[in-house]
């Protein structure tokens, strides 16, 4: 048997949400899928591979967490279909790993009883065994194994403990045990009750209650979920987060900025003036460099979000905000997708899969891009830095940070308003139930946080390389060629394709105070929000008679009125300047209808908001 080449085994990880399935998946396969301390992190199936010490290949499937195979939401349906082998082009897994949070066994034992009906051999992984031991929880493993009729392995996924054992069990099961046919059906209420009773009996027989149960979570919640202090703390947290994005990053950004200016100077002195110098100086450094400057800010934002996600605070924030969200017609589980959208709307929109009701899910998808994503940071920072004076308000707060906070608030408030309107006008009625587990607080793991930040750096740089760089080359070419006819009056860029296009389209945006350079920048800016900054960098650098060594911010200061700048900010609060978001909406909703609706309503709002802001600002003397 051992000498023959064994066929690869297929294994799926199943279990309650937040029990550590993905952490285990990462430990087994060396992957880096997202792990965080709230329910509903994983929303799609992910595959990985490991090789056993015996040289056998095992395909591992990570699945969304669920309390039951009776799927209620799109993510749980993935789990059900994967386990039952109903996914197109896929057979049922050979072995299931049922992942349990060892400190909370009853619910997962009920799920394990349900899994038995599927007829696949399974092993119970008692994960978070470190916490169970710390709490002095005594589990009679042998008896538990007998009771559920499956082998048991204790694991600590985050420390990679128990992994070899688990692999060995899986290997043996996939060779030894023969799967029987699935007799699973949707359990009725009575059957669920019976299974609970059985699970309860098993827990009573095999588990002695914790000697030192966790009391810390209760104490922390006493403060963080306090009706008054809890809300104040949440507000303060968000406020500090946005202020930090602005103020902490400043020194680092100046450093990066100085680096790029130095580089531009160097290029200007070393290379003879001409096409090459213009390409490198105006296209690459002024364009791409103007976006790379914002990496420190984006990392600070992600740092905060990671701390919230890893500590277990996310679910608390959702609890505190539930009434407000419900008042706006949003599903209770919409909060986490919306908060994730602060980082980027794409994972935010994907995580709406945890929402069961179709209309609730669509509403959340439609408003998610209104949340201020990290790609808006370059735009906001550039304009704020150039037009809002560096003042301190009330002794401690920076005025610039305050404006930043205001922009974030504008995004949040408009998301709530839009969803309110959608629920009042289009889909009235139905408010879905809200039930959510509040996970135990955990100290965020430095390694996990650092690894995630590093992933962000890689994503940001690869975006700069794959999207911004080629677009900047294009913009540079479009704003350089064709050359003006000899002896033509006016700046050369007016004769280029970009210049002509900008002048042609500018009347459309003149009512909201945009000049032709901005009009040009918005077109490639459809690809991604920060591209507009890079495009402005290139357009102003090419158009600059001094060879484009002036920083973009000062170029804007001298050429834009305050009203124009504010109007541009208002535009960016609403405008759907991101094809990737529209593409993901198309994928998640299976059609062009919803991305089209999203595009139209967001453009309309953006135009309206800019129009109002521009004219009010002009009336107040900001023209």
């Amino acid at each position: 048997m051992t000498d023959a080449v064994l066929p690869p085994a297929r294994v799926a990880l199943v279990g309650n949400p937040n029990s550590g399935k993905t952490a285990l998946f990462n430990a087994l396969t060396g992957s880096r899928q997202k792990v965080a301390n709230y329910a509903g992190v994983t929303v799609e199936r992910k595959e990985g591979v490991l090789t056993t010490p015996g040289g056998r290949i095992v395909h591992i499937l990570d699945l969304p967490g669920t309390y039951s195979l009776r799927a209620r939401s799109p993510d749980e349906a993935v789990t059900r279909d994967a386990v039952l082998g109903r996914l197109a082009g896929e057979v049922a897994p050979d072995v299931l790993i049922c992942v349990a949070d060892a400190t909370n066994l009853r619910l997962v034992l009920r799920l394990a009883l349900e899994l038995k009906a599927v007829g696949r051999p399974f092993v119970l992984a008692l994960n978070m065994y470190d916490i169970a031991q710390r709490q002095g929880l005594r589990i009679d493993l042998e008896q538990l194994s007998r009771e559920i009729g499956a082998p048991i392995v204790t694991t600590v996924a985050t420390r990679k403990r128990g992994i070899e054992d688990l692999v060995r069990q899986v290997d043996q099961l996939s060779l030894g045990a023969t799967p029987s046919d699935s007799v699973w059906h949707e359990p009725s209420a009575a059957e669920i009750r019976d299974a609970h009773r059985e699970a309860q009996r098993i827990v009573k027989a095999c588990v002695r209650p914790a000697e030192r149960p966790d009391t810390l979570t209760g104490k922390i919640d006493g403060v963080l979920l306090h009706p008054v202090f809890g809300l104040l703390i949440l507000l303060a947290l968000l406020f500090v987060m946005f202020q930090a994005v602005f103020t902490w990053a400043a020194p680092l950004m100046e450093l990066v900025d100085a680096g790029f200016s130095g580089l531009a100077q160097l290029v200007a002195t070393v290379l003879p003036p001409g096409l090459l110098a213009s390409f490198i100086g105006d296209g690459l450094i002024a364009g791409v460099g103007s976006v790379l400057v914002f990496l420190p800010q984006i990392l600070i934002l992600f740092f905060f979000i990671l701390l919230l996600e890893d500590s277990g605070y996310m679910a608390r924030a959702a609890f505190l905000m539930d009434k407000i969200m419900g008042g706006a017609g949003l599903h209770g589980r919409a909060f986490i997708p919306l908060l994730s959208s602060f980082a980027c709307a794409i994972p935010g929109i994907m995580s709406t899969r945890v929402i069961d009701n179709k209309h609730d899910r669509l509403t959340t998808i439609l408003v998610a891009p209104l949340m201020t994503c990290s790609a808006r940071i370059p735009v906001y920072t550039l304009i704020i830095g150039a037009f809002i004076p560096q003042q301190t308000v009330w002794g401690v707060l920076s005025l610039q940070g305050l404006v930043m906070f205001g922009l974030y608030a504008a995004g949040i408030v408009s998301a709530l308003l839009v969803s309110f309107v959608i629920r009042r006008v289009f889909w009235r009625g139905t408010v879905e139930p809200f039930m959510m587990e509040l996970p135990t607080y955990r100290w965020p793991e430095a390694r996990n946080v650092l690894m995630n930040l590093w992933t962000r750096v890689r994503i940001f740089l690869s975006r700069a390389g794959r999207i911004i760089l080629p677009l900047m080359v294009l913009i540079w070419a479009l704003s350089t060629f064709p050359y003006p006819p000899p002896g033509a009056p006016g700046p050369a860029i007016d004769y280029s394709i970009a210049g002509r296009l900008g002048h042609l389209l500018q009347p459309l945006l003149a009512p909201i105070g945009f000049n032709w350079q901005m009009t040009v920048a918005l077109i490639p800016g459809m690809a991604a929000r920060e591209v507009a900054v890079a495009a402005l960098g290139t357009v102003y650098a090419v158009g600059d008679p001094n060879g484009g060594t002036v920083a973009l911010a000062s170029a804007l200061q001298s050429q834009w009125s305050l009203a124009t700048a504010l109007s541009f900010l208002a535009w960016y609060v609403f405008a759907p300047q991101c094809v990737a978001t529209l593409a993901v909406v198309k994928r998640e909703t299976n059609g062009w209808l919803w991305p089209t609706v999203m595009f139209v309503y967001m453009v309309a709002l953006a135009y309206l908001a800019s129009l109002v802001v521009y004219h009010v600002a002009v009336a107040l003397g900001g023209g």
């Binding site: 209420a189 609890f319 139930p433 809200f434 039930m435 509040l438």
Partner: protein, 110 residues
């Protein structure tokens, strides 16, 4: 004869006292503790999903007859939602769904 009567009325009293301590979870205040006596079987608790569906979801989340419950926290607006301890786990729930769970309350945490 009279003995029997006394006995009967006493048990009746105990019965009503017992019944009066059974209330829907939606009426619970912070700190109250009790044991779940019934899940589902309450009509009009929710219009969005079928009563049977709600019952099953509650059961799957651990709201099952016999589970020990404590109200840990209440939301700031309208004291909604509520955070509960259900046996060994913490769960948040809107009062509207909590109406489908009947609890025999046996006191307030000191």
């Amino acid at each position: 004869m009279s003995d029997v009567l006394v006995f009967q009325s006493a048990s009746l009293d105990a019965g009503t006292a017992e019944a009066s301590r059974v209330r829907p979870l939606s009426s619970a205040a912070k700190g109250e503790r009790g044991v779940i006596v019934q899940v589902g079987g309450v009509t009009g608790a929710t219009e969005a999903i079928h009563a049977d569906e709600l019952e099953r979801r509650l059961l799957e989340m651990g709201f099952v007859e016999g589970a020990v419950i404590e109200v840990l926290h209440e939301g700031a607006f309208g004291r909604d939602p509520i955070a509960l301890r259900v046996d060994d786990m913490r769960v948040a729930l809107r009062r509207r769904e909590a109406a489908a769970v009947s609890v025999r309350f046996d006191g307030i945490k000191p």
